[in-house]
Amino acid sequence: MGVLEVKDLTMDFGGLRAVDHVSLEVNEGEIVALIGPNGAGKTTFFNCVTGVYNTMQGTVTINPPGREAEEIQKQKPHIITQKGLARTFQNIRLFQSMTVLENVMIGRHARMKAGIAGAIFRGKKTRLEEQKLLHDCYEILKKIGLEKWVNEQAKNLPYGEQRRLEIARALATEPFLLLLDEPAAGMNPQETQDLVELILKLREEESISVLLIEHDMSLVMSLSEKIYVMDYGKGIASGVPKDVKKDPIVIKAYLGEDIDA
């Protein structure tokens, strides 16, 4: 079984069926892409998997390496993250007035223990915990290449760096699966290339699996081992990149007409 297995996920917004019996699977160490025209329901799918929406039907099962499989549908977002699923957002959702370092530190929140008493009295345990936290977060920033922005307010970062910061922050939660929602949106070709390398590096060094939503086809093709395609809420195709690329159903969904391949 894959580290993530979604079966027949269905989600309605009032009268509109935003996600219609979509299934997908991510195996350990895989990079999987979810693509489709705008409005296909991809982000809604993410939101269901990560617990932001909790009125869907279907099952979401996680099977992290070294742990038991469990179903997580309809659980609260923070619980799901604590279990090892981390995500970034389509529209950047950084903590704007906090520094770059602090944004990453937040990611570690669930892995730390200090409470109110710890905050007020700053005992030895708390101080050691904070030291380790600073060390770890700085290392993460170095890995992502953002260490020179350490004390800068997140809102002052250039766009491409903000996107990378979101990834750094998600990384701090120690996930086994990273869900990236359009990580390359708005990036120029150089930045996109850097992003590809970063994701590959993360997969190698952190043993993380990745599920990403993307519109940038070059990134999708060069990065993913498997692609799922959605349109109008339904899953319409899946497979390896070279097959999906040629699939007439997929082409029709994007271009809206039959094209002789």
Binding site: F95, T99, A110, M112
Partner: protein
């Protein structure tokens, strides 16, 4: 174009003059059956609104333009002065020593009246810092905050009446009662969004006040409770002036504690979680943070400080009634946090002192106080939502091999 601006402001001022004509110029008194015309006001509005409109539009334009560049000569100068002070060790220590000396000597150099004012101001510093945790750090708009203050006061008053509770023991008890109330209030409020949450907290505050006002058998109703014992040192006989000095030092200690706790909180795991929640609840949850718990903490923690301050208030004024704990007081504390800067400790202290001390020295204008508060809220939100002294996050100094903060800028 200057001419356009002048013309635009002329239209605005004419519009406002006409709009405010009935209320400002005509005064109808149906008790005495008179109608007074105050043409002077007409001129006042015409000219006043013209100037204000010019200033307002100018400020708006500057805000649009100057979003990135901040090269105001004055602010650069201030930054330089601040830098020289904080960098040189001897300057810093002598500055702190001077401040401490001033604080210690204050009660011995000033009159009873001035000390009383300062005592009240210090209570509001504590209230401001307390609310700062809920609003400033947590981003939760608690419009019923003064209810916690009231609960602290009444706890001392009632427990003292019932079992002769001593002031010193009442202090932590007041905080505890407020804490419990804070948790109770937080529960229904938890899943509400900003606007609704604000109104519900306002509702709670008002309900509490109305209940206290009407439950005469328990709380003495609108007439309140009298003869609350002042703080005393067992065995020492203190007259009025010395008691005031005692209260002063109590407040200084409490305020210092509040400052210390808030400082520690700001840069801790919990503090960061609060701010993350303020900035973006959904992202915060996605980082594994249990929003519900954090909200309760924001509420309850803020409440404790109000509760403790309430005990001192009751002991200081020796008489409390529901009229001291109205919505206006909540708004005043809100004003303090907004004006000072949400999440900013020096900002809140500064604003509390200004907002409580200034009216005393500007007694002549006391009627206009609330009017000014209302205007301040609007103006601050439009032009300087970060407050007069915006919050500054902690900077960590890393050596190349990383680790270990040893220089922490930003209070």
């Amino acid at each position: 174009m200057i001419k356009d601006r002048l013309l635009k402001s002329l239209f605005v001022s004419l519009w406002l003059t006409v709009l405010t004509f009935p209320v400002m110029v005509i005064r109808v008194n149906t008790i005495e059956d008179t109608v007074t015309w105050r043409w002077g006001n007409l001129l006042l509005i015409l000219i006043g609104s013209y100037i204000l409109s010019l200033l307002w539009n100018y400020a708006l334009e500057r805000q649009e333009r100057g979003k990135k560049v901040k090269t105001n000569k004055l602010s650069i100068k201030i930054k330089e002065i601040k830098a020289t002070f904080s960098q040189s060790r001897p300057m810093k220590t002598s500055g702190i020593a001077a401040a401490l000396l001033a604080i210690f000597l204050f009660p011995f150099l000033t009159s009873f009246y001035q000390m009383s004012i300062m005592n009240t101001a210090l209570m509001y510093v504590m209230l401001g810092l307390g609310l700062n945790i809920t609003i400033g750090l947590g981003g939760i708009l608690n419009l019923g905050y003064i209810a916690f203050f009231m609960v602290g006061s009444y706890s001392y008053a009632l427990l003292n009446q019932a079992i002769g509770l001593n002031f010193w023991i009442a202090l932590p008890i007041g905080g505890l009662v407020a804490l419990i109330l804070g948790i109770i209030v937080a529960v229904p409020v938890l899943r509400l969004r900003g606007d609704y949450l604000a109104i519900v907290t306002l509702a709670f505050g008002e309900i509490m006040r109305i209940v206290v006002e009407n439950w005469s058998s328990l709380t003495g109703g609108p007439s309140g409770i009298r003869s609350i014992p002042r703080p005393a040192i067992p065995g020492v006989d203190l007259n009025l002036i010395d008691t005031a000095k005692l209260v002063y030092f109590i407040m200084i200690v409490l305020a210092a504690l509040t400052i210390l706790i808030t400082l520690r909180l700001k840069d801790s795991r919990i503090g960061r979680a609060l701010i993350a929640m303020r900035e973006d609840e959904i992202a915060c949850q996605s980082m594994g943070i249990n929003i519900t718990r954090v909200k309760v903490i924001a509420f309850a923690l803020g409440a404790v400080f109000a509760g403790v301050a309430g005990v001192v208030f009751a002991a200081n004024t020796t008489f409390i009634n529901p009229a001291s704990f109205t919505l206006w007081e909540s708004v005043l504390v809100l004003c303090i946090v907004v004006l000072g800067g949400m999440g900013s400790i020096p900002g809140v202290i500064f604003a509390a002192l200004v907002l409580k001390l200034m009216p005393e020295y500007l007694r002549a204008f006391s009627e206009y106080r609330m009017l000014v508060f209302g205007a301040v809220l609007v103006i601050m939100m439009v032009f300087k939502p970060g407050g007069l002294i915006p919050e500054k996050r902690k900077h960590y100094n890393f050596t190349n091999k990383d680790t270990a903060e040893f220089e922490e800028e930003g209070v």
